[in-house]
């Protein structure tokens, strides 16, 4: 068995589309990632993805972006605006969790801050589970803690949510309610197809926890990084300061550029299942492992230009190159929430009124609308609990400077 590193943009795209390569990135995080969508392969993956994709379509995202999310942003931001300050890492996870909970199907029937805090506590533990390979502490102890938190999450949030949905599904089967009365979330879809997909309770539990953590964590991490990159950019390009408030396309490009330079996961990994040859001639055998070096690929000057190593929200790219590089993966495992988080690229022949900007740009712009800027007396800190390059704290203040 050999490990190969892929550093070419075209070869990496080929990897993502190759059916003889299987997901390997989350092997260390099995406690929460076993059997979840991103870890499935072949028919099992296709069948589940087809069902779950029904929730991740443009019309649903448009509703989120224009109707649902502005209200969630306003509610989540209100206490911080009142205080005149905010810590971005915690704030962004709370904000994105509020939306991810809706998508995943995690109800909060009490609607109290304490209930949300408990869910947030579970979320942060689940995030550590998904990134266990990069955890710097005792991994076995962390895995046990995650298992315990999964049990608590199940008892408080998941099982009552399943009971509510099963009762509704029974009423739908009896003709007492219509499909329009059912929640549009991952949990409901899984319960409707529990038998077809041969799902156990534990599999449903991990899938819902995965959607909660993936939906919240990746967008929250990108949000803080975009804020930081825009702060840095406008300090040296004051001519763009007003655009952050008036031009949402600019904020979207800053988001794409951030995601290109700082992908949620710095690498992709695949196991080789069968003899295969990649574009460019790399020959692979069963049992080999591929590491897809996204940091290097996304900064390749031959693809992204001579200044590929710099943040530039005005970057121009040739047709066919995604502004976020390969940070959302590609092929059958391309990130299911990509359009929701970062919107879509606009083309001249499409209806601009229907353009989707993405939740991260919308949330970032809301911060700048309120005069958000770094706290000069409390600089940001990195997160030392992981080898991933995360901010641990990022204090900001609001109002006119």
């Amino acid at each position: 068995m050999q490990t190969f590193t892929v550093t070419s943009y075209e070869m990496a795209k080929d990897c993502y589309r190759n059916k003889d390569l299987r997901q390997a990135l989350y092997d260390a995080g099995e406690v929460i990632m076993a059997d979840v969508l991103v870890n499935l392969h072949g028919d099992a993956h296709r069948n589940r993805r087809r069902l779950e994709n029904r929730l991740f379509r443009r019309d649903t995202f448009m509703f989120y972006e224009r109707e649902l999310f502005p209200e969630i942003i306003a509610d989540t931001l209100a206490p911080h605006l009142a205080a005149g300050r905010c810590e971005l890492v915690g704030f962004s996870h709370q904000l994105m969790m509020n939306l991810a909970a809706l998508t995943a199907g995690v109800d909060r029937p009490q609607g109290t801050p304490e209930e949300t805090f408990r869910l947030y506590d579970y979320l942060t533990t689940f995030i550590e589970g998904a990134t266990l390979a990069h955890y710097t502490g005792d991994r076995a102890a962390k895995a046990r803690e995650i298992e315990e938190k999964l049990d608590l999450f199940d008892a408080e949030f998941l099982s009552p949510g399943i009971a509510r949905r099963k009762a509704l599904l029974a009423r739908a089967a009896a003709g007492e309610v219509t499909d329009d009365d059912l929640p549009r979330d991952v949990l409901t879809i899984l319960l409707r197809n529990e038998d077809n997909l041969e799902l156990t309770h534990e599999m449903i539990r991990r899938e819902v926890a995965f959607y909660l953590l993936a939906g919240a964590h990746t967008s929250a991490t990108a949000f803080t990084r975009v804020m930081h990159n825009i702060f840095t950019w406008i300090a040296s390009h004051p001519e763009d300061e007003e655009r952050v408030r008036t031009d949402r396309s600019f904020v979207q490009r800053a988001t794409h550029e951030t995601i290109r330079m700082q992908p949620s996961s710095p690498i992709g990994m695949r196991w080789v299942l069968a003899d295969t040859t990649l574009r460019g001639g790399m020959q692979l055998s069963p049992g080999d492992k591929l590491v897809i070096d996204l940091l290097q690929i996304n900064r390749d000057p031959s693809v992204f230009g001579e200044d590929a190593d710099s943040f530039n929200p005005h970057r121009e790219l040739p047709e066919g190159v995604s502004p976020w590089g390969l940070s959302f993966g590609g092929g059958m495992h391309a990130c299911i929430g990509q359009d929701l988080a970062a919107g879509v690229v606009s083309f001249d022949d499409q209806d601009q009124q229907q353009h989707l900007f993405g939740l991260v740009p919308v949330a970032v712009q809301a911060m700048f609308d309120n005069g958000c800027r770094p706290d000069p007396d409390d600089p940001p800190e990195t997160d030392s609990s992981t080898t991933r390059p995360y901010f641990g704290r990022y204090p900001v203040i609001f109002g006119q400077s």
């Binding site: 795209k13 993805r49 994709n53 443009r58």
Partner: protein, 73 residues
């Protein structure tokens, strides 16, 4: 060149990207898998190539005048 487009439904993951981007060219069947609509003939080759490129599962297949497949990825 006027491209002919087909959907390989075994590959389709039902993401709906093609339907959202080009609603006159693509739709869903009763199983929520993508299908080609008659309007595909009017959207132009470049739009069809982009739809094929953006399809995560590679289910959109394009063919030239001589019947040979055009690979755009």
């Amino acid at each position: 060149m006027v491209l002919r487009v087909e959907i390989d439904q075994d590959e389709c993951l039902s993401t709906g990207k093609c339907v959202a981007d080009h609603p006159v060219a693509f739709g869903f069947d009763a199983d929520d898998l993508a299908i080609v609509l008659p309007g595909a003939a009017d959207v132009g080759d470049e739009s069809l190539k982009r739809a094929a490129r953006l399809c995560p599962s590679g289910a959109i297949r394009l063919f030239g005048d001589d019947g040979s497949e055009i690979h755009v990825r």
